[in-house]
Symmetry: C2
Amino acid sequence: MTNTEKINRLFEIMNERDAYMRTLGKLSFDMQCTAPEEGMERAGEDMAVLGQQLYKIVHSEEYERLIVELHENDDGLTDLQKKVIEHAYDAYSKTKNITPEFAYEMDMVSNQAYAKWLEAKSKNDFSIFRDSFEKIIENTRKSIDLREEKKATYYDSCLDDFEKGGNQQQLDKFFDSLKERIVPLMNKIVKEGKPIREDFLTRLCPIPQQEEFSKYLMEAEGLRKTATVLMTSEHPFTTNFGPKDVRITTHYFEDNFISNIFSTMHEGGHALFMQNEPDEFYAQHADNAMSNAMHECISRFYENIIGRSEAFIHFIYPELQRISGDIFSDVSERELYEAVNIARPSLIRTEADELTYCLHILVRYELEKAFINGEITVDEVPALWNKKYKEYLGIDVPSDSEGCLQDVHWASSYGYFPSYALGNAYGVQILRTMEKEFDVFGEVRNGNLIKILDWLKNHVFNCASVMDPDEWINHITGESLNVDYYLDYLEEKYSTLYGLK
Amino acid sequence: MTNTEKINRLFEIMNERDAYMRTLGKLSFDMQCTAPEEGMERAGEDMAVLGQQLYKIVHSEEYERLIVELHENDDGLTDLQKKVIEHAYDAYSKTKNITPEFAYEMDMVSNQAYAKWLEAKSKNDFSIFRDSFEKIIENTRKSIDLREEKKATYYDSCLDDFEKGGNQQQLDKFFDSLKERIVPLMNKIVKEGKPIREDFLTRLCPIPQQEEFSKYLMEAEGLRKTATVLMTSEHPFTTNFGPKDVRITTHYFEDNFISNIFSTMHEGGHALFMQNEPDEFYAQHADNAMSNAMHECISRFYENIIGRSEAFIHFIYPELQRISGDIFSDVSERELYEAVNIARPSLIRTEADELTYCLHILVRYELEKAFINGEITVDEVPALWNKKYKEYLGIDVPSDSEGCLQDVHWASSYGYFPSYALGNAYGVQILRTMEKEFDVFGEVRNGNLIKILDWLKNHVFNCASVMDPDEWINHITGESLNVDYYLDYLEEKYSTLYGLK
């Protein structure tokens, strides 16, 4: 068999693999957005059956042999095909020792854990989730034990799955820098910041109007209407089934209209990434291989850097007034801008402001590092969570629903949270590069977000899936991750906003 | 292997089979209710891949051998297990000669046809659907050619799939009886019927209010909230993934509020059937084997016999007034009852009244019988459709969207339509038996629909999946299908309503 024949045959198998992956994704989407309560358990079982088949495909002798052989000798492959082989080989080597039975068990546990987490959160009862939680951690460690490549810690292995090359040592330093400059800034705001008007933030805004505004924002961001779906779920997320079927979810709160606005902007950012990689990536199985921090960089770029800018508020202000009727007619553009940027220690990560957000991540980072590495048990998580919130954010956590049960992530995997913080930092670094080419906020002011999307397509989306994080940020900005851009940005923005200089 | 071991092993395979069937059902549901336009094609391809795997399972040597062997010797099996084997053997013998490649092709064509039909209908352009339509007919005939059991006509084979033992000869007589008595009754109404107030039927009723009313109706019918979902689609339908996940769709028209009411009642009837078979049926793969006429009998029982009765209108009237605010405040209970029963030749089957409904089915019956038997080509369908509507219903069809493209059915299969008409007739026959045991409309008047549901559970749902249609109706009512009950009911109801006696 020539290498051309091999890659063609491999791509055939990948087509089948992708059909199963998309199907499993749709079943999961259905569970989170559509299925009735009683249907959850059976849905989880069905996903496990399909997962077994997917397992068989990606562990078939032929599939693995083709990957190993093409990894050993990639003569005649295009650069893109070489990259696909590299990713496939990485996934292969990480899972080659996982048995079908264990893969099935992991799927079952993970699917059931989602239902348990939902119930535990709604009943504010950690004990409902406890056993599933423990079991997933156990399975995660067991699956890492089965890997050939050994890392210094279990958590390093988790991090590597989401952020190639990431490790605790680097992240400890990264979070230290954030802590050093964000905590004093936050304290200064609490003590000396000027008051910001916020009475209107809890005014009731009917859901149909919020939905209409979400659709307006999605169009403004540049999402293709005929290829994008908006639905609701407990925890907002974005998923896709190829570039032509991208799905965003949101969660409407009648008494918190800005929650939906920035959730939509955030998930819209993810959706733009999914919809705008180069065509050849989609055609050759190279898409969707960017790191999670790259993905979060874009979503948080749209949510915060663009979404919470003066320029963007100027642009959306008239439409917000039109759609909401007279609900906010007494609120000025400036008041809206200030209110969406209020910085204040709070309980819920997804509702956190741009400034304190990384402190929420810090808590999760320290906890998941500890329980994955076996330094604490799941039973210690609720109390430790509360202790750390007191320590870093200065607040008391009144319930586990608003504490360690608030996020869905721990019902499936660990090592993702740091990506949010890294993404914030990447975002500002990329902004500074983009600004060298055009007046970014001048375009935002006029609602010309397509200009930004085009730039991202040509500089960010076009290479993310084929580069490791460090290579990628260097390629775009000419240097490795430099957290100072982000911290300078925060200090400048919040000092001005709160009249601290 | 003992027979017990055999049936246990067979049930294991059936568990896997059912996981694929539910998954394919969910993908189809997603296409119809959620997926964006651009996602359709890829979704169809993915379904074909899963369909291939399902094909492999039900055509595996082991699965087929177990069925054949247990069919030859069913010693020691329970009656329920024997019935499961009988159904499985029937399905096996009908499809045993279909190759995997042909099965895959049929899936692909059928999935793409749905998208083509949607487009053709929305653009009122039959030519968009034409090729898919022809291809599905061709595939249907080809698949019948591959069966061992030969019937007198191709259409007899189609009918047998939906209504075991059904054939053209019987149906020709059945439809003749309906035509003989319904057409003169309709003509009399047109000439001599008293006028019925209908000005309010096209008043705008906002969709959120219609949605709230749908949910009220579903609860009144006795559907379990935690196991039932309501969504929207182009053409209303019901589907389920086990008894704990039943899904109804509707289509809201702001200017036609009763359309949603009776669509919900109809699909709700299907949903009740899916949710209330005996537990052991679900556990032993015996559920969901009722004929389509049995299913339509229940849906149309709830839609028409209950839903359009004076007693039911009396029951829902106060809630309709409450939910709709002042929209219908000038409409009396009597006026509402009369208006929802207006009988008049019309274009759209799903909007047709109880009296003329069977004439819509008659048109479809005659056409699909002709094109499946090769007596006409697909190109003749639009004109013939219009000719028959003129002949039987006396009306001109202005466009194919409102003509032969109105229903989704022909984008997938043939032989289903007669079930609606048979279901109507079964329904009244069952009503007359039920009335011997309690005052049915007295209970409806008080909103006590649970009493009816309980009776149906104990007399109708408990045996439908394990009996052929003739056996079933005899078991419930003590006699074979007798169309006179239905025709007497129609004459009585409509003569009174229109003051003809």
